[in-house]
């Protein structure tokens, strides 16, 4: 890749930026889930690694979160956008060179940002943990060039309409930049007090709601029609999804602070808007599942569809939890417990990751014009992810319910810790399964590049046989 940094634009093969991002994303996924597994082990057996002070839990927890969000998830998004946006516009990526530079500076910036977090340099604000110079780097060096590439590709498209996926891509990168610049205002201008607390969660809510879930959905809007050959069930419902995301998903930030002393009107408003998240959620899930009509056999036979539809099915419990757990009636019970941790992993490791994994699986095959090396390894990866995630989600949900019950019955906290211990072990096992599955995935992808069957021009990977 590095040889293209100073090459002429015309000399850079199409898809270089996408590939660079895709491979980086898989590597960060391994790193991020490895860190997660390590942290989980610490929670189950706190004295296990004693003596290695560089790996303190309090320093590593946020490194895991940011490695998976900005390493794996965001880079898988970038990879998907770099190949899907031009395809849907029947054109080339606006600038492969910008994309390659973007990816290089993204990786460098992320390494630096995580190293700083690791050493304890933090703003002390959850999800916007990065110190403000890093926030500016993320906005101006990592996201704006990425956005420019996507927007210019859409502007230079050779089709008349803009497909739903591209609406999401263009808008979500834009909103992410806005969220980064506005959500970090407390750090840039030293805003303090409840304003700071609220803006922290405004940022956290919107980085999840305006980047991670909608872009993952946008990828499935592409993958499902493309691979099944069915047209999208309804473009209009896709529009309903898009507009209700912009209107409803950008407003409930305060529902993360339901038990804090924020103004009551704000909490009530956020709670109502939070339930309205079900509008885009239901529109989206129905639209995708109805697109599958007549092609449900591919849910079993095709690895990308298997990943995508699993993700979409996981979006159903995700949104049902998300819509209702933030209402006052339920929130008081599960707020701040492992339930929320389980819910966050349902969003990021369940719904979103499965959609992105499909985008990256498909993208690498299309960009290399090579069929996936091994179906068995891909299936192994799928089941490691799904079983690992399920173990994680179930154990953390149970742990959360224990914590919730303990709140009411005023159990001494250490008894909660004791009661949670078995679930902490299961959570660690689940996370470790995901980690090992990802190593297999990287191997499968390297072998695809080396030994995958060539996909002839004009053919889809789905039409070609596996090498193994």
């Amino acid at each position: 890749m590095l040889k293209y940094l100073f090459a002429k634009e015309d000399d850079i093969p199409q898809g270089s930026a996408g590939l660079f991002f895709a491979v980086s994303a898989i590597c960060w996924f391994i790193i991020g889930t490895g860190l997660g597994s390590f942290n989980a082990a610490k929670l189950a057996f706190p004295d296990w690694y004693h003596g290695i002070y560089a790996l303190q839990f309090g320093h590593m927890r946020q490194v895991h979160v940011h490695a998976v969000i900005f390493g794996w998830i965001a880079m898988a998004f970038a990879a998907s956008m770099m190949y899907i946006t031009p395809t849907l516009g029947n054109t080339k990526l606006w600038s492969e060179k910008l994309g390659v530079w973007n990816c290089l500076l993204y990786n460098i910036g992320l390494c630096l940002a995580l190293a700083l977090l690791w050493s304890g340099l933090t703003s002390g604000r959850e999800y916007s943990d990065h110190i403000w110079p890093v926030d500016l780097y993320i906005a101006f060096v990592m996201f704006i060039p990425w956005g420019v590439n996507v927007w210019m590709t859409i502007l230079n498209r050779r089709t008349q309409g803009i497909y739903t996926t591209n609406w999401f891509f263009a808008a979500c990168v834009f909103m992410t930049i806005i969220v980064f610049l506005v959500g970090n205002l407390p750090e840039f201008f030293h805003l303090t007090g409840l304003n700071e607390a609220y803006m922290t969660w405004w940022f956290a809510h919107n980085i999840l709601g305006l980047l991670i879930t909608p872009v993952a959905a946008a990828i499935t809007y592409y993958i499902v029609p493309k691979i099944t050959g069915n047209p999208l069930y309804s473009h209009r419902v896709g529009h309903l999804h898009f507009w209700s995301i912009v209107v409803f998903y950008s407003t409930p930030a305060a529902h993360h602070l339901m038990s804090s002393p924020l103004p009551e009107w704000l909490k009530s408003f956020a709670s109502v808007e939070g339930v309205l998240i079900l509008v885009p959620a239901v529109a989206y899930v129905c639209n995708i599942l109805l697109t599958m009509q007549g092609k449900w056999s591919m849910f079993v036979s095709n690895i990308e569809i298997k990943f995508t539809i699993t993700g979409v099915l996981l979006a159903i419990p995700l949104n049902m939890q998300g819509g209702f757990q933030q209402t006052r009636a339920i929130n008081w019970y599960i707020h701040g417990t492992g339930w929320i941790v389980a819910h966050a992993h349902l969003a990021l490791l369940g719904f979103s990751t499965f959609a992105e994994a499909a985008g990256v699986y498909y993208g690498i095959q299309v960009l290399l014009r090579r069929k996936l090396y091994s179906a068995s390894l891909a299936n192994f990866h799928f089941w490691m992810l799904l079983i690992g995630f399920s173990l994680y989600w179930t154990s953390m949900t149970i742990a959360g319910l224990i914590q919730g019950a303990a709140k009411i019955y005023e159990v001494p906290y250490v008894d909660v810790v004791i009661a949670e211990h078995p679930y902490m072990i299961v959570r660690w096992l689940g996370g470790t399964m995901v980690f090992f599955g990802n190593i297999i995935w990287l191997y499968n992808m390297v072998m695809t590049a080396r030994a995958g069957s060539i996909v002839p021009v004009g053919r889809q990977p789905v039409e070609v046989a596996y090498t193994r």
């Binding site: 189950a44 706190p46 946020q62 604000r125 110190i131 805003l191 914590q403 250490v414 810790v417």
Partner: protein, 311 residues
Amino acid sequence: MAFREYKIGSMMFGVCLSVSMFVTIFLPGLDISGVSSTQLALEKQLTYGWESGFNYYDPFLQGKDKPIKVTLTKDPRTGAKIDETDAYVFKPGTHFPNGLTHNWILGDKVEKASAGTGRIHEATEEKGGVFLVQVADDDTPYIEYATATRGWTVDAVLKAADQQFLAGSGKTMFIREGCWWCHTLLPEETQDWQTFGRPPMTGDFNGESPTTFGSDRKAPDLLHVGSRNSSREWLTMHFFNPRLVQPHSIMPRYDYLWGDKDKEGNPIDLKAWDKKFMAYAKGESIYPPEVPIPASGSEARMLIDFVLNLK
């Protein structure tokens, strides 16, 4: 190809996002900014100083640039006996919290009392000074610049102090070491009253940054922990190795915050300590090894001071 018919869509998108940000940022911002400081907010600001996360004055989060909280039982100027009083000492050059530099954030009445009776406008960061939190007859809390009103100088107050708390530096440790990933600082408004104490009020936060509520509670809430457990000895053992006092704790050890030497200047050998502890944990010895007393400038001392100060 230009946007053409998508122009309307793009404009609508801009309108939607702007309205959304107006309702979720501007309006709450107006509302929250109009809240007056409580006494607690004034105390917190004067305890924690300018900013506890990453900032210019303490870029590596070492607990620098922080005020010292002291308790006084005699007047530092005259030596006369007074009721126990908390004072906040800003050595020259220590940066002031937001409430002193941008005092409109205190709320109208508090600002007026602090500026009038409290004479806080006379304080400068270059000279430093000593501050108190007072309550006026009409229950308005305000900040008093004691260096101007009572002639209490920094040196005299530090000399006369019965106790010094490095709680401001300790909050930096609390943030850097990630304590707030497990210990929340927010008793919830619904079920936490009896176990973890009074939930905070809207005005309790003016000028504090970051607020570090925490969201993922894996351990007891600490907002009022100093009222439940005020034993420095217990906390010292707990920070060194939580399993000394609570065998089922999953908290990491923070023995590395002790630094190289203990209070008497004896070197601390963590490996040797761990060996003895593991022998104790396996039942091979009856008593656990002694926990060294942290040096007075150590990070461990700062963190313990912060926790003890959470009343």
